[in-house]
């Protein structure tokens, strides 16, 4: 008994020594590699030694590129992702991607569309083959498009009121272009035909507007797949410049709550310093609680709490696009309290005083938020892709803290001053019994 105890101790000690001898070295992540191919496609890969690869084709085409005649075509395009192509039926794409342990995901913004897959490293080649086929060889068969119209209807009906308020805000602020909704307008459901989809794809899915982004993939291998993308050449049509207009879009739907989004124009991703100053200002205004079950902090939450004791939630919003942006607030409040809260929020937006302490805290928040985006493969993919296509180059992760800390108090105060002098645009839905009109704010 004693001998057995001693023996097992002895083995344990030996194995402990063996482990102690091999030091675990954390491999350094490799920096971003960007190259442009003959067909105009940009290829960007980054290696951070994770077990899962993410691969995405990012295209500079979104709701912004719709015109009056084809309104809603980008929403339908997203719904039709993964349907029959020249080389594969929809069933074949689905099952083969399932065999590779992945599935196709299509994400869309106002200025970009991403088709992405996430697979383990050894299945990435297979997944890449089907991904490139699904993006560039879509057939849009008439019966498949009409069979999937119900999904379009479902997404439009299931839209959250807060999302709807944001869509209304964009429509009020930008009218066409960036004002086009991400969701198909009701009167267009069922009216989008395969020809519209095919025309949109031929016009906007060109080599110059496409980037293939890979995380934990081999750059050369992905470049080979990117060459297989069967796209038109060229840079596609240029976008009309965005212009902000002060206006409002209100949709009274009754109920208990009011969902109000109001915002002033902010510079888009044109100047890094101004963009960062706007983002810092957004965090100073406050974007909800940072602690689970904690109270919202920031200037907006304070002002709203003073204005009304009713239930409300306030958060600063700051969507940013390539040539324009918005900076403002999203208010969700009880119908009777909404008027006071919205007025208080608008008054705060007009009179923000920024101190050094505010800026320092906001900087820490911003760096944490950016690093969180970079920590999640799917959002990192989107981030790199949109930067490559819309801004032209990608800001490296290790430069971010330096850039953020380089923004001074004066820059943020300048942004606050511009905000106080701007007109507002408003998008509102829900119970608008007390919601003020934008010209009174």
């Amino acid at each position: 008994m004693a001998s057995r105890f001693v023996t097992s101790q002895g083995i344990r000690n030996l194995s402990a020594q063996a482990v102690a001898k091999t030091e675990h070295v954390i491999p350094k992540p490799e920096p971003l590699k960007v190259s442009t191919l003959k067909n105009g496609v940009t290829v960007a890969t980054i290696e951070n030694h994770g077990p899962v690869s993410s691969l995405g084709v990012v295209i500079k085409a979104g709701a912004r590129n719709e015109v009056y005649e084809n309104a809603g075509v980008t929403h339908m395009l997203r719904i039709c992702a993964g349907l029959a192509t020249k080389n594969n039926s929809a069933f074949s794409l689905t099952r083969n991607l399932q065999q590779a342990g992945t599935g196709l995901v299509c994400t869309q913004g106002r200025e970009h569309t991403i088709y992405s897959v996430q697979a383990t490293r050894d299945n990435t080649d297979v997944a890449a083959g089907y991904l490139t086929d699904a993006v560039s060889n879509q057939l849009f068969k008439p019966w498949e498009v009409s069979d999937n119209t119900y999904r379009l209807k479902l997404e439009v009906e299931n839209r959250a009121p807060g999302t709807y308020a944001m869509e209304l805000l964009h429509a009020a602020a930008f009218r066409s272009g960036l004002g086009n909704s991400l969701y198909c307008p009701s009167h267009k459901i069922g009216a989008i035909k395969p020809e519209h989809l095919q025309q949109f794809v031929s016009k906007h899915f060109t080599g110059g507007r496409t980037a293939v982004v890979g995380i934990n993939v081999n750059h050369a291998v992905i470049a080979k797949y990117a060459e297989l993308l069967n796209l038109e050449s060229g840079a596609g049509p240029s976008s009309i410049a965005s212009k902000f207009s002060s206006g409002e879009e209100r949709r009274e739907t009754g109920g208990d709550l009011a969902y109000v989004a109001l915002a002033a124009p902010s510079p888009g991703a044109t100047s890094v310093k101004e963009a960062l100053a706007a983002m810092l200002l957004q965090r100073i205004l406050g974007s909800g609680p940072h602690i689970k079950r904690g109270a919202s902090q920031g200037k907006l939450a304070v002002a709203a709490a003073e204005a009304s004791a009713g239930n409300h939630a306030v958060s600063a919003i700051g969507p940013m696009y390539s040539d324009a942006g918005l900076l403002g607030a999203m208010v969700v409040a009880e119908g009777s309290a909404a008027g006071k809260v919205v007025s208080a929020v608008a008054a705060t937006l007009r009179s923000i005083s920024v101190t050094d302490a505010d800026v320092a805290a906001a900087k820490k928040n911003l760096i944490a938020d950016v690093l969180e985006v970079m920590g999640n493969s799917a959002s990192l993919l989107e981030d790199i892709g949109t930067q490559v296509l819309l801004a032209g180059d990608v800001i490296q992760a290790d430069k971010i803290p330096e850039l953020v800390n380089g923004v001074g108090l004066a820059d943020v105060q300048a942004a606050a001053k511009k905000l106080s002098a701007s007109k507002l645009a408003l998008g509102a839905t829900g119970n608008l019994s007390t919601c003020p009109h934008v010209d009174s704010l």
């Binding site: 039926s89 069933f91 074949s92 099952r95 068969k141 008439p142 019966w143």
Partner: protein, 127 residues
């Protein structure tokens, strides 16, 4: 061994024989069979008289609307003839050539449906 050499000689002659096997595989016989079937006397095309199995029903569902409408018209006209216990006047009967040209409108869609079903069955087999 003898069978093997005979098979070999058969395969080498098959290219020539394929054209030579025209005992029934010729235009005259096909025309005679077409006229004997008689569906053209009711104004119908070959693809109108296919038995509507699930595959054929799905192929019809995928037809463009104008082809579906034309099919419906021809079927209704044929039903009317049937009710009146008569056939169309001879100048309205689709000819053999017309049926070859326009009467196979469903075949492409049907082949696609069959290929899709075969693919699904293949995947189910290996599941």
């Amino acid at each position: 061994m003898a069978m093997f050499s005979r098979t070999l000689s058969l395969t080498s002659r098959s290219a020539n024989l394929a054209q030579a096997r025209t005992f029934v595989n010729n235009e005259a016989v096909k025309k005679w069979a077409f006229n004997l079937s008689g569906f053209n006397q009711y104004g119908l095309y070959r693809d109108d008289v296919l038995f509507e199995s699930d595959e054929v029903k799905e192929a019809i569902r995928r037809l463009p609307q104008h082809l579906q409408d034309e099919r419906a018209f021809r079927v209704q006209r044929a039903l009317q003839c049937s009710v009146m216990k008569t056939v169309l006047p001879k100048d309205q009967w689709p000819t053999y050539e017309e049926d070859r040209e326009k009467g196979r409108y469903l075949t492409a869609y049907l082949e696609e449906v069959r290929a899709e079903n075969a693919e699904k069955a293949e995947w189910a087999k290996n599941a």
